[in-house]
C-alpha cells in the first residue's frame, strides 16, 4: 500500500484531494458523503457579502408601499448578515461534529474590514483553518494596481490579528506581476495559497441578445493555468500551494503534485461524477505510484517544478514559435 498522506498549511490530510468551496460543501449531509468517499478535507461554501445584499433587496421588493417602514428595514442588512453568520457558524460546528477530516471555512472578502470580526468567530466555532476567497476584479480604470494589491495584504494582516488558526488565500491570476504577488503574499502570515479561483463569467446569447452565465463547470484543459504557475512558484514561495481549476481526474492530481502542490481542490468533477468519483481518482493515483515505485507523495512532489527541471524555459515559453509552427496546416 502506498502512503497518500500530505501536509497542507499545517494540517495532516489522509490524501491530497480537498473538496473545493462550493455547493458540495454547503451542508453536513453532503460533507459526510464526501468524507465517506475518501475526501482528504473540505473547504466549506463561502459566505458572501453579495448574498446579503441580494437577500436584502429581495425582502424590500416584497414589501408593499404602505407597509414599508424604512426605519425598521434601514439596517436590516446587518440583521441578515448576523443570521447568515450564525447559520455559517452552525455549519462549521455541525461539520466538525460529523466528520473527522479537516474542515476549512471560506470567507469571500472584498474589503479589509468586513469580515475580520467574523474570522474570530469562525475560529471559536472550531474550523481547522480559514480560506480567504479574496477577489477584486481589476475593472476600475481609476484604480492603480498598487491600490488593488494593497487590499489583499490588508485583508491578511487584519485577519491574522484576530485568529491563530492557519489562513490561506485563494487567488486569481488577474495581477500584472503575478509571480511577485504570489511570492510576497507567501511571505505574509498566510500558510497556504490556492491557485487559481475560477469565477463566474458572463457570456452572450446572440439570438436573444442577452447576457447569460457562461459554463459553470471547468473543463480539464483549464488546468494549464494552475499547472504552469504552481510549477514556476513551487520552490520560490514561503508557504504551501494548493491547485484548483480543471483538475478532473487522478492523473491531473498527479500532475499538480509533480508541479509542487501540497494538495488539490476539486469541484466540477465531483458535481459531474458524484462523490464516489473521489475513490476512482484516489485509485488512479495509487496505481500510478505503484507503477512508479513511489511509496509516498514526497518522493515525487515538485519533481517537475521549474526549479528542479533543466528545461526550465519550457515553463515560461508563451509563444508557440517553431514547435507549433511545424504543425503543418491540414487545410
Amino acid at each position: 500500500m502506498v502512503d497518500l498522506t500530505t501536509r497542507y498549511m499545517g494540517l495532516s490530510l489522509k490524501n491530497p484531494i480537498i473538496i473545493a468551496s462550493s455547493g458540495l460543501t454547503g451542508n453536513v449531509e453532503s460533507i459526510k458523503k464526501l468524507e465517506a468517499n475518501g475526501a482528504g478535507a473540505v473547504v466549506l461554501k463561502s459566505i458572501f457579502e453579495e448574498e446579503i445584499i441580494m437577500e436584502y433587496d429581495h425582502m424590500m421588493n416584497k414589501m408593499d408601499q404602505f407597509e414599508s417602514d424604512y426605519e425598521y428595514f434601514d439596517y436590516y442588512d446587518y440583521k441578515i448578515k448576523e443570521e447568515n453568520v450564525s447559520k455559517y457558524l452552525q455549519l462549521i460546528k455541525d461539520a466538525k461534529a460529523a466528520v473527522s477530516i479537516p474542515v476549512i471555512a471560506s470567507i469571500n472578502c472584498v474589503s479589509s474590514h468586513e469580515w475580520t470580526y467574523f474570522a474570530k468567530k469562525i475560529e471559536e466555532a472550531g474550523a481547522d483553518a480559514i480560506e480567504l476567497n479574496a477577489f477584486i476584479l481589476p475593472s476600475d480604470p481609476e484604480r492603480s494596481s498598487a491600490e488593488n494589491e494593497k487590499v489583499y495584504f490588508d485583508i491578511v494582516n487584519t485577519i491574522k490579528k484576530e485568529v491563530k488558526i492557519p489562513v490561506a488565500m485563494k487567488m486569481s491570476y488577474y495581477f500584472s506581476n503575478l509571480a511577485q504577488m504570489i511570492k510576497k503574499l507567501s511571505e505574509t502570515e498566510l500558510k497556504g495559497i490556492v491557485l487559481f479561483n475560477r469565477f463566474y463569467s458572463p457570456d452572450f446569447d446572440i439570438e436573444e441578445l442577452k447576457v447569460i452565465s457562461s459554463h459553470i463547470f471547468s473543463t480539464q484543459s483549464d488546468q494549464v493555468m494552475p499547472l504552469r504557475w504552481i510549477s514556476i512558484m513551487a520552490e520560490k514561495v514561503s508557504c504551501d500551494l494548493a491547485a484548483t481549476t480543471g483538475i478532473h481526474k487522478g492523473e491531473d492530481v498527479i500532475k499538480m503534485l509533480l508541479a509542487g502542490a501540497k494538495a488539490v481542490q476539486v469541484a466540477s468533477t465531483i458535481y459531474q461524477n458524484g462523490a464516489e468519483y473521489i475513490q476512482t481518482m484516489l485509485k488512479e493515483i495509487e496505481e500510478w505510484m505503484e507503477r512508479h515505485n513511489y511509496l509516498n507523495i514526497d518522493q515525487f512532489r515538485a519533481k517537475l517544478s521549474q526549479a528542479k527541471n533543466e528545461n526550465g524555459a519550457h515553463y515560461e515559453r508563451v509563444q508557440f514559435m517553431r514547435y507549433f509552427g511545424e504543425k503543418e496546416s491540414t487545410l
Partner: protein, 494 residues
C-alpha cells in the same frame, strides 16, 4: 379605501354643502399654510417640555378653511385607518371642535397621540389635493387633528364612550402599547371583561418608554389610560405573559381570547468589533432608562452620566429621539451618524428639522466599523468609515457604499445604537403552534387578525415588525372586531 360612499354621504349633508359655498375654492387655495407654534430652539434643547405648542383657535379656524372639502378626498386614502379627514376639518371650520374630536374618534382611538407622532408628510398630507394637484403645502391635517383632540381634552368635556353591559366573558390583552390600548377600548365597549397585562411598571408601551416627553407628553397618554379605566378596563403591570403566567395559566383563569400587542422591543445591533463595550447602549435601553427610570435625574437612585460627546447611530425617529434626548441631558456634542444622506433618513421630516434647529450635529454618509474601549472597557473612540451613494436599492433609496481607506477615529463618551428592533421572541417561542415568519413576527389573517392558534389574535409591531402608532392602533381595533366575532360564534355554539 375601496368604498368611499360613507364619506360621500357625510359630505352631502346640508351643512357641509352650505359651508363649501361660504368661500370660493380659489380663495381658499390662496391662503398660506399656518406654522406650528414652537418653543425657542435654544431654550427647548435645555428642557424636556413639549416642543410643539399647538395651534390657537384662530389659527385652527383659518387652516380649516384651506381644506377644499374635495369631492374625491384623496387624503383619506393616504390614512392607514381611513379617518374622515374633511369630515373633522369642516367641523373645526364651523367651530364645532368637540364635534371634530368625535369624528376623529370614530376611527382613531388616540387622536391626540397621532396628531403628534404620525408621519403625516408621508400619509394624509402627502395625498392632499394641495400636494398632489396644486404643488402647494398641504392642509395641516396633523396639526388640526392635534388641535381638536387637545381641545376636547382641555375642555373638561371629554366624553367617556358608552360601554355595553358586562357580558362576563374574560379577554386578555398582552401589551399596553397603542395596539393593546385600542383593542381594549373596543372590547370593553362590546361588553367584555378586559384585562391588559403589561410587562413594565408603566402603561403605554412605546408611547411612554420610547417617544420622549418633548414630543409626546406622558400626560396625554395618561388621560387615555384613565378613560379606559373608567370604561372598566383593568390593568396588571409588571406582568410578563409567558413568564409570570403562561397562556394556559390564563386560560385556566377563564380568559377566552387573547390579543397579543407585545411590540418589537428587542434591540438590534450591528455586530461590529467592540460593540459590547461599556457606554454603548441600544436606543431602547437608553430611552427607557431616561423615560421610565429617570436615569438622568440626579435625585434618583440610578443616575447615569452619559458624557459630553454622544453619538447616535441611525436615521429613524428612534435615533432622532435619542440624540435630542442626549442634548437635553447636557451633552456638548450630540451627533447623528447615518450611512446615507439626509434625504434618505426614515425619520419624520419635522423631527429632523427640529433636531437641526436644536444644534444636533449630522454626520451623514458615515458608518461605524469598530469601537475602541479604554482599559476599563468603556468606549472611548469609534472608527468611522466614509460612505458614498450608489445605485438605488429595492426601496428606491440609493445604497450606501463604503469608501475604502477612508476610516478615521472619533472620540466619544457614549454611543446609542439605533438601527432597529425585532419582535420580542418570548411569546412566539412560548407557543409551539403559533405560526411565525422568519423575521419572528406572528402570522395573522389580515381581516380578523387571528393567528394560527384560534383564541389568539395579534397586531401592531409584533405582526408588522415595525410600524407606526396609527397602524398599531388600527390593528388593535380590527382584532377587537375579530375577537368579538370569534367569541360570539363560540357562545352560539355552546
Amino acid at each position: 379605501m375601496e368604498d368611499l360612499s360613507y364619506y360621500k354621504e357625510k359630505r352631502s349633508e346640508d351643512w357641509r354643502v352650505e359651508l363649501r359655498k361660504t368661500k370660493k375654492a380659489k380663495e381658499r387655495t390662496l391662503m398660506e399654510r399656518i406654522s406650528m407654534l414652537e418653543q425657542d430652539a435654544v431654550e427647548r434643547s435645555q428642557n424636556i417640555e413639549e416642543v410643539n405648542l399647538g395651534l390657537t383657535e384662530e389659527m385652527a379656524l383659518v387652516e380649516a378653511q384651506r381644506c377644499l372639502d374635495c369631492a374625491n378626498p384623496t387624503c383619506i386614502t393616504g390614512c392607514p385607518v381611513g379617518i374622515n379627514i374633511p369630515g373633522f376639518i369642516k367641523k373645526i371650520e364651523v367651530k364645532d371642535f368637540l364635534g371634530a374630536a368625535e369624528v376623529l374618534k370614530d376611527t382613531n382611538t388616540l387622536p391626540a397621540v397621532c396628531g403628534r407622532v404620525c408621519p403625516q408628510e408621508k400619509q394624509c398630507e402627502n395625498s392632499c389635493f394641495y400636494t398632489v394637484q396644486l404643488k402647494k403645502p398641504p392642509v395641516a391635517i396633523g396639526y388640526l387633528e392635534r388641535f381638536a383632540a387637545d381641545y376636547e381634552r382641555n375642555s373638561g368635556k371629554m366624553a367617556i364612550p358608552k360601554v355595553a353591559t358586562n357580558n362576563g366573558i374574560k379577554v386578555a390583552i398582552i401589551g399596553s402599547g397603542p395596539a393593546g390600548l385600542a383593542a381594549s377600548a373596543d372590547l370593553v365597549k362590546f361588553g367584555y371583561d378586559v384585562t391588559v397585562f403589561e410587562a413594565l411598571h408603566e402603561i403605554g408601551g412605546v408611547l411612554k418608554y420610547g417617544i420622549p416627553e418633548f414630543r409626546l407628553p406622558n400626560e396625554i397618554v395618561d388621560v387615555e389610560i384613565e378613560n379606559l379605566r373608567k370604561m372598566g378596563v383593568k390593568f396588571r403591570t409588571n406582568f410578563i405573559v409567558g413568564k409570570t403566567a403562561s397562556f394556559d395559566d390564563l386560560r385556566a383563569q377563564g380568559y377566552q381570547a387573547f390579543f397579543v400587542g407585545s411590540g418589537a422591543g428587542l434591540p438590534r445591533f450591528m455586530n461590529i468589533p467592540g460593540e459590547n463595550s461599556i457606554g454603548i447602549f441600544s436606543s431602547n435601553e437608553y430611552l427607557t432608562r431616561v423615560n421610565l427610570m429617570k436615569a438622568a435625574d440626579n435625585n434618583y437612585d440610578t443616575p447615569v452620566s452619559f458624557g459630553d460627546t454622544i453619538a447616535v447611530i441611525g436615521g429613524g425617529n428612534t435615533a432622532m429621539d435619542s440624540v435630542r434626548t442626549a442634548k437635553r441631558l447636557g451633552a456638548k456634542r450630540a451627533v447623528i451618524i447615518y450611512r446615507r444622506s439626509i434625504e434618505e433618513m426614515p425619520a419624520r421630516v419635522e423631527e429632523v428639522k427640529h433636531a437641526q434647529e436644536e444644534g444636533i450635529e449630522f454626520m451623514n454618509l458615515h458608518n461605524p466599523v469598530e469601537y475602541i474601549a479604554d482599559q476599563d472597557g468603556h468606549v472611548k473612540q469609534m472608527r468611522l468609515q466614509k460612505m458614498k451613494l450608489g445605485e438605488p436599492d429595492a426601496s428606491g433609496r440609493r445604497r450606501p457604499i463604503p469608501i475604502d481607506g477612508s476610516e478615521f477615529l472619533m472620540d466619544v463618551d457614549a454611543v446609542v445604537v439605533s438601527v432597529g428592533v425585532s419582535p420580542n421572541p418570548l411569546i412566539p417561542s412560548s407557543l409551539k403552534d403559533l405560526e411565525t415568519t422568519k423575521w419572528g413576527t406572528i402570522v395573522v389573517n389580515q381581516d380578523t387578525m387571528q393567528s394560527s392558534v384560534k383564541d389568539i389574535f395579534a397586531g401592531g409591531d409584533i405582526v408588522r415588525g415595525g410600524a407606526t402608532v396609527i397602524l398599531a392602533m388600527g390593528d388593535g381595533r380590527k382584532a377587537a372586531a375579530g375577537i368579538h366575532d370569534y367569541l360570539m360564534e363560540k357562545v352560539k355554539k355552546n
